[in-house]
């Protein structure tokens, strides 16, 4: 401990003793969960300002919760995007695919077919419904839990599985950890794995689009935990300074591995309220309400496209599963949280809404789920023809050295020769299967 100066008045002082606050979540494993103190306003009661409004007008919405789907499973209020039943069924279909895909890939990891996977259970709307509100060529800078964006954009599942298996068919040549996809064709930026780095990049892309007089906008996703990174502050500052046509989506799923949202500041204010200090428009939205997610993303997209400025949206949701296949949440949080979560499940809410509209029924849902599971299963088998992770040595060793630079410099040429030589020494008969 640091020595105090000799003239310190500490001894005998009547000054109050300082105390450090270390946040603690309300519930730990085994605790009974009670979410009644969580303020969930009725659906349809939140005002919807004009898309081109002054950011200040969004201030009340930064502490409210934009909701459309009520307990009666009907759409309410000015944020109702009034989507056709066909569009709603398409959305539900994407949900079914995402859920079936997550199940299958999670199981694949447990069966030893790959090293790692991350599910997005409970958060499907924050990527699927948001992606559907954007134009297909708007550029997205995702974090690692936005498989729903790729699926909504029609990215082939087999490409995703090839990447997850790092197999011969992986167009990223086995270089990236599973689920760190990239698809320029689908305007989907390469996922980093470092947190929040994509946020200033999205702002930069949006600035470039504005510099060029383009009409495409950018959107980025990050977790509430990584809003603590300096990159997010840089992103908000640049977005505000240059009025960049960008949407910053904060997915507040309450947990960053084992750290609850309090370690990113949630005990003090909302994440949407971050917008106010920067002069960004801000919205706090029920992230488990697919219609509210769609409507808010569309609002922000229209705002950006009209040169009216960037928007920061907090999607309030819950990470129903572990952080990843490497995580066991039963070690740090109460299992009851998922069951008691007051905002429900986005897939069930959309299903019930369509049924309430008379546009859907349980039989069709069961058929949809089964078709999704079959499609994923068949595609997985197809992908497995390209191999599973196994020993990992699927791509020619030389490819390890390509794309470090556009051209191979002498030192990488020498190292590539060494790698190829080692392969010949270790596997004189050629590589073993798998």
């Amino acid at each position: 401990m640091a020595d105090r100066p000799d003239n310190s008045a500490f001894d005998g002082s009547n000054k109050p003793q300082l105390a450090l606050h270390v946040p603690e979540p309300k519930y730990r494993p085994g605790d009974t969960v009670d979410f009644t103190d969580l303020n969930v306003p009725p659906a349809g009661e939140q005002a919807r300002p004009d898309e081109t409004c002054d950011p200040k007008e969004t201030a009340p919405l930064c502490h409210d919760l934009v909701r459309v789907l009520g307990d009666d499973d009907k759409a309410h209020g000015p944020w109702d995007p009034k989507l056709s039943p066909d569009v709603l069924r398409t959305m539900l279909g994407h949900f079914a695919t995402v859920r079936a895909f997550d199940e299958r890939m999670f199981r694949g990891q447990r069966q030893g077919k790959t090293s790692f996977y991350m599910k997005c259970t409970g958060e499907e709307a924050t990527s699927v419904s948001a992606a559907m509100a954007l134009a297909s060529d708007d550029m997205v800078f995702p974090s690692y839990r936005q498989q729903g964006v790729l699926i909504a954009r029609g990215y082939p599942l087999i490409e995703m599985i090839n990447q997850i298996y790092s197999n011969k068919g992986d167009k990223l040549k086995g270089r990236q950890l599973p689920i760190m996809y990239s698809s320029r064709e689908h305007s989907f930026f390469s996922i980093s794995g470092n947190l929040a780095t994509q946020t200033p990049q999205a702002v930069g892309w949006a600035m470039a689009s504005a510099i060029k007089g383009d009409s495409r906008i950018a959107a980025t996703w990050l977790g509430e935990g990584s809003t603590a990174e300096g990159d997010f502050h840089s992103a908000c500052t640049f977005a505000a300074v240059y009025n960049a046509p960008v949407i910053l989506n904060v997915i507040n799923n309450q947990w960053a591995i084992s750290s609850f949202s309090g370690f990113a500041g949630a005990e003090r204010t909302t994440f949407a309220a971050r917008a106010l200090g920067y002069g960004l428009a801000g919205l706090r939205v029920d992230g488990n309400d697919p219609l509210a997610v769609y409507a808010s993303q569309k609002w922000a997209a229209d705002r950006a496209r009209a040169n009216a400025g960037p928007t920061l949206i907090e999607y309030f949701t819950y990470r129903a599963e572990g952080h990843s296949t490497s995580d066991d949440p039963s070690g740090y949080r109460s299992a009851q949280e998922r069951e008691e979560w007051p905002l429900g499940d986005p897939v069930m809410r959309l299903k019930r809404h369509l049924i309430a509209l008379g546009e859907w029924d349980e039989d069709r849902q069961a058929e949809m789920d089964e078709n999704a599971a079959t499609h994923v299963k068949q595609t997985t088998k197809e992908a497995e023809k390209n191999g599973i992770l196994g020993h990992g040595l699927h791509h020619p060793f030389r490819t390890m050295f390509e794309d470090v630079f556009e051209e191979l410099p002498w030192h990488l040429k020498e190292q590539a020769e060494q790698a190829v030589h080692e392969r010949e020494v270790k596997f004189p008969e050629g590589l073993p299967n798998r």
């Binding site: 800078f141 200033p200 470039a208 689009s209 470090v404």
Partner: protein, 353 residues
């Protein structure tokens, strides 16, 4: 070159041939590339209306407009981060970091993002940025305006590191860096912005216009990255240097009458290993000089390479002359700097072994 800078150049130059200092040469390169390629943009702290604290971007905003040349918030993380996004869009950003000492908040965006984007996306996305930044000491900048952090960047796979030592090279190398499709760290030795440096801080500064390498042709030309420049040929020893130290070792060698062959490396990654090997095999002796701190400095890499490739041609241990492993002190700057005494004694020792 922008009109403002052109006027400055003309008043400073009465010769028939156009002579520029390094600032004017850099301004000229930026001007040419902004003009040739509509995707090039220049941004950074104070680079817009004001034209940069060292004047490297003077007149460019006036000429090319506020969406091509603009000021940024004081956020190196943000500057590099948005540049990566702009590169993904298809632009060719040339961000300026006001001092190399300020680059650290942007390191994650450089190391984890710009340097690896091509690799991790299997070339779907690239980061063709050129990060310009003044570096090095000798201007009483204290510990936050004097550092030479080049070896932090040479250690990162996927980054190129370029350091010019003359106005002619600064222009040609900067143009190559901007045209390059990989991220380039372009460190400008600020001590020699206005004139080459003999190493004697107590002697008058010689302006660039008296130096042969200040003849900078008008218009476009480029110098390929990865090619060293033979500053002078010699047979007694090879001296490897870059940036400010090229001029210091040249002046010390001349003063001592040593028949040294001096190589200005110009690019640290990719390195011109052929030129280094050829020279050391010829002379049998090798000295490496840099201003940066010694431990894990780029000199360690050079020394290892020379040992690995030229061991049987060496007649003496490889010599390293560097800055000390301390922060760059303000008032003791010239005690820190690897000047004529340190270099001269090392030359004597290398020749005596």
């Amino acid at each position: 070159m922008s009109e403002t800078a052109q006027k400055d150049a003309k008043t400073a130059d009465n010769d028939v041939e156009r002579r520029l200092n390094m600032i004017e040469a850099i301004n000229d390169a930026l001007d040419i590339m902004l003009d040739r390629d509509p995707d090039v943009i220049v941004m950074g702290e104070d680079v817009g209306y004001f034209g940069g604290v060292f004047r490297c971007t003077a007149g460019l905003q006036e000429k090319f407009g506020k969406t091509r040349v603009f000021d940024t918030p004081i956020s190196e993380c943000g500057i590099i981060g948005v540049a990566v996004g702009m590169g993904a869009y298809g632009l060719r950003p040339v961000p300026e970091i006001q001092f190399a000492d300020y680059i650290y908040p942007g390191l994650d965006q450089l190391i984890s993002e710009a340097a690896r984007l091509r690799y991790r996306s299997a070339a779907e996305y690239i980061a063709p940025l050129t990060v310009r930044s003044p570096f090095g000491g000798g201007i009483f900048g204290g510990q936050t305006h004097s550092q030479s952090p080049e070896s932090i960047f040479t250690h990162v796979s996927g980054l190129k590191t370029v350091i010019p030592s003359t106005p002619y090279d600064a222009k040609g190398l900067l143009i190559s860096a901007i045209e390059d499709n990989d991220p380039v760290i372009f460190f400008e030795p600020k001590r020699i912005y206005n004139g080459p440096f003999s190493g004697y801080y107590d002697k008058p500064v010689e302006p660039w216009k008296k130096h042969e390498q200040s003849k900078v042709p008008e218009g476009y030309y480029s110098i390929p990255l990865g090619k060293a420049r033979t500053v002078r040929e010699g047979g007694e020893m090879t001296i490897l240097a870059y940036g400010t130290m090229v001029h210091v070792v040249e002046s010390v060698a001349r003063e001592k009458g040593v028949d040294a062959e001096i190589l200005d490396l110009r690019t640290l990654v990719p390195l011109d290993i052929e030129a280094i090997e050829a020279s050391v095999r010829k002379t049998g002796r090798c000295m490496i000089v840099h201003e940066a701190t010694r431990t894990s400095g780029f000199g360690a890499e050079l020394s290892a390479l020379v040992q690995e490739r030229c061991f049987y041609h060496l007649e003496a241990p490889i010599a390293r002359v560097t800055g000390f492993d301390t922060p760059y002190p303000h008032s003791l700057e010239w005690a820190y700097f690897p000047g004529p005494v340190r270099i001269g004694e090392a030359i004597d020792k290398l020749l005596s072994e």
